[in-house]
């Protein structure tokens, strides 16, 4: 909504940034008007983050210039950006877990303010924007939505004239997203410009006035998202026709492949969430989804099912009807259960060793990659090459180290490595987190094909769209507890959202779960 006669709040002219071997931004130009909500749209690796870091002074452009209110400016560091009136809410929050909300806010502002005055100003902002948050709580006790509000308050305290939001909704419940959008609209109506970075098209359609689309570091288009269809923007973003994920509906399911009965397990690490009496079943040919906001026991659930807890879990797990609570990771794999954890570098794969060695790590039993205590190198390489070809992994070959692959490519390799083992049961966590749209579609298709071939799949994800598109049944995990299973046909998104936020109805467990218990009742 550019007002005539005003120069744009922020204008980029010919911004170019090179990293060794890559051109991250290539002659990028666009402008954000005062009070405009401007989307920056692009796949992972399109150069959005680099561009934003240049605007916020974390990185410096090799060429081009930045205009602020029509005047060219230098932004040498984040402090200078904040002085200009640029605020930023990071995708990965820059918060300190063991400190209070107020301490976190104090760290994020440059002026020296007394504690009392700071607290008053924070409370005033919380009230003005109707943001529920207790300034005295320690961060590790807060839900992800509450954590994001800290970042927002931190940015608002500086009275920003441009607020940059980097993938703000990737971890929020639908209700939290709505609330965030209300806040952003209120800010924009007060004249603050907003640069909104995302790859979620329906959100951009709902929120933004203008969208600049980046691909391969270049601007490939500018459009009014309300006038475009999600599909047309997606095709601009990936630069080609979008592949449809084909899905069979409501097929016949076979026997229970995975059966979990009253599974409890301790939390991992100081801020982990213990699992409380989780029961579920997955039948042959079925995909069951576990929705939930990050840090509600998903990591513990994956570890307990995969066998990584080393006996710390209680309850019963049956694989194809066989009890396996005492079995370790390798034994469970041999029984037919493969798993893909959320963290790729260091958990799903060892970054420093080759792809074929990484294949040996999880596929050695089922694919016969070892024998008599030796690795069968030829077989391992053939298997790795098969994964690379079948799943279109972009790499130099099986000898490339896992760490040399981009996140999306490594994820394709890890998924392929497990899927080609034809597991009876596959447990996956966040299979498309940080993966570009093309690779995500390929991974989704592979999961559907695996299920169609008769495997049982348990899909743990924060992405509701993904769960709704793939799953037959969904349950929500919150504070280490699992909700009732719901058929996806005719499911109520609102109800799922409320469950993600911790509203069970019968037992009032606050969002954020087990880590959230106050130390004293006072």
């Amino acid at each position: 909504m550019g007002q005539e006669g005003h120069p744009p709040r922020l204008a980029l002219e010919g911004i170019t940034k090179r990293f060794p071997g890559v051109l991250a931004n290539d002659e990028v130009s666009f402008a954000v008007a005062p009070g405009e909500i401007h989307a920056l749209l692009g796949e992972n690796g399109a150069g959005k983050s680099t561009l934003v870091k240049i605007i916020y002074g974390v990185l410096h452009a090799d060429e081009g210039r930045i205009l602020w209110d029509g005047r060219p400016v230098e932004i040498p560091n984040p402090k200078a950006a904040r002085r200009l009136g640029i605020g930023m809410v990071f995708q990965h929050f820059s918060l300190f877990e063991a400190m209070t909300v107020l301490e976190n806010i104090a760290l994020g502002i440059d002026e020296k303010v007394g504690w009392r005055e700071l607290q008053e100003r924070v409370v005033r902002i919380l009230e003005a924007y109707d943001l529920p948050l207790d300034p005295r709580r320690e961060v590790h006790t807060l839900s992800v939505g509450e954590r994001q509000r800290i970042e927002i308050v931190r940015a608002l305290l500086q009275k920003p004239r441009l607020l940059i939001m980097d993938e703000p909704t990737s971890v929020l419940t639908p209700q939290e997203v709505e609330r965030l959008f209300d806040t952003l609209r209120q800010l924009a109506s007060e004249g603050c410009s907003i640069l909104y970075i995302s790859h979620k098209l329906h959100e951009i359609k709902a929120l933004c006035d203008t969208a600049t689309i980046l691909r391969g570091g270049r601007v490939v288009g500018t459009c009014d998202p309300k006038a475009e269809s999600a599909r047309s923007m997606a095709e601009m973003m990936i630069g080609g026709a979008l592949r449809d994920v084909s899905r069979r509906r409501g097929g016949e399911f076979g026997q229970d492949r995975l059966n979990v009965v009253r599974l409890s397990a301790p939390g991992e690490g100081p801020f982990g969430v213990p699992l409380k009496e989780i029961s579920l079943n997955v039948r042959a040919g079925e995909i069951v989804g576990i929705a939930g906001v990050a840090g509600n026991g998903q990591n513990e659930l994956l570890a307990a099912l995969a066998g990584e807890m080393e006996g710390a879990e209680h309850g019963a797990i049956f694989l194809n009807g066989k009890a396996c609570i005492a079995a370790n990771v390798g034994e469970r794999r041999r029984e037919g259960m493969c798993s893909v954890p959320e963290e790729r570098y260091g958990h799903g794969a060892v970054p420093g060793i080759s792809l074929s060695d990484n294949a040996v790590l999880t596929a050695r039993y089922r694919m016969g990659l070892t024998g008599q205590g030796f690795i069968r190198y030829a077989a391992a390489e053939d298997f790795a090459r098969n994964v690379i070809e079948t799943f279109g992994v972009r790499t130099t070959g099986p000898k490339a180290t896992a760490g040399s692959l981009s996140g999306g490519n490594l994820q394709k390799f890890i998924m392929g490595r497990e899927i080609l083992q034809k597991p009876d049961i596959l447990v996956v966590s966040q299979p498309t987190w940080g993966v570009d749209a093309g690779a995500a579609a390929a991974i989704h298709q592979a999961l559907l094909d695996l299920a169609a071939a008769g495997s049982a799949i348990l899909l743990i994800s924060q992405d509701l769209d993904e769960l709704l598109a793939l799953c037959d049944r969904i349950a929500v995990i919150n504070g280490g507890r699992l909700s009732q299973m719901m058929e996806v046909e005719g499911i109520s998104i609102e109800r799922v959202g409320l469950l993600m936020g911790g509203m069970h109805g019968e037992n009032e467990s606050p969002p954020g779960g087990g880590a959230r218990e106050r130390r004293n009742a006072a």
Partner: protein, 308 residues
């Protein structure tokens, strides 16, 4: 036991507690910034020998103290350069610093073995300092009072000051602090230098107050006790004070048990007590689920490389 004996025991406890308190205070600040410097013992020895050499040559104890702090801070900068700038492994580098410190202090101290200096005993006039009762409060070396003031200062700095908040934040999450715009490496350098200076001060207590003469390996492994003390205190300055005096009491027990002719325990066993207590404390704290480890700075010992 007569009150005179009790007072004399209390005086030895203070003597045993003060050097480890000084060194541990410095290490606490270092660890709060996310750096684990295991070179405490080496830095204390470098401080001890420098304090002795300078005091012996110039006759001025204050000059000796300042030189000790400077020398140990300089030694800690070797550690800082290797671990912070070159991101070397902190554990290995810290151990190397200890070995280096032991060797260097022996080398420098060669010509001083067996010599003595005027002990830095008194802060207050003799009437107070040697009064049979009041000496409990007034009869200590200036370093004792400095250690108490520093405890209060460090506690205030960490919990109340903005600079302390930034230091803690860097120890909690270096990435986050960097993305907000704080200089992680710069702050850690300052913390490591402070830790070095405090270790030097702690070391000089042995060569200027306790003995006061030079002997090889004068600190006798007390640097390790100071390290354990930081964990024992779960990174809190006031608990550190209590812990230092508790360890001081354990160390003193050996002396007084021997003097009192306790025969059912071998003297070797008594000499072992402080170190045994260290092992027990460290074991208990690493096994305890919440109490100890939760308090540890989340980035403790992790190297930081600035990216993007």
């Amino acid at each position: 036991m007569s009150s005179a004996v009790l007072i004399s025991i209390a005086m030895t406890v203070v003597g045993a507690a003060t050097p480890i308190l000084l060194a541990a205070l410095g290490e606490l600040v270092v660890e709060k910034s996310g750096v684990l410097n295991l070179g405490l013992e080496g830095m204390m020895l470098i401080g001890a020998v420098t304090a002795f050499a300078v005091t012996y040559s110039t006759g001025s104890a204050p000059l000796g103290l300042i030189a000790a702090m400077a020398a140990s801070a300089a030694a800690s900068m070797i550690f800082g350069f290797l671990t912070l700038t070159l991101t070397a492994n902190q554990v290995a580098t810290g151990l190397a610093l200890t070995i280096f410190g032991i060797g260097l202090s022996s080398l420098i101290g060669q010509g001083f073995v067996g010599r003595t200096v005027d002990a830095l005993h008194r802060t207050f006039p003799a009437a107070l300092a040697e009064h049979p009762v009041w000496r409990l409060i007034f009869g200590h070396s200036p370093l004792v009072y400095i250690s108490l003031v520093m405890t209060a200062l460090v506690a205030w700095f960490l919990t109340r000051s903005r600079a302390g908040l930034i230091l803690r934040a860097i120890g909690e999450s270096d990435e986050a602090a960097h993305s907000i715009g704080y200089s992680v490496i710069g702050v850690r350098y300052l913390a490591v230098a402070f830790g070095g200076a405090m270790a030097g001060l702690g070391g000089s207590y042995y060569s200027l107050v306790l003995t006061p003469m030079w002997a090889d390996r004068l600190t006798a492994g007390r640097g390790w006790i100071a390290l354990a003390l930081v964990v024992f205190a779960s990174w809190r300055p006031l608990r550190l004070l209590a812990g230092a005096y508790l360890f001081g009491a354990v160390m003193t027990f050996e002396l007084h048990a021997k003097a009192a002719g306790v025969s059912f325990l071998a003297p070797e066993f008594l000499a072992m007590l402080p170190y045994l207590a260290t092992i027990v404390v460290l074991t208990v704290i690493s096994v305890a689920p919440a109490g100890g480890r939760l308090a540890a700075p989340a980035c403790l010992g992790k190297p930081f490389r600035a990216t993007g």
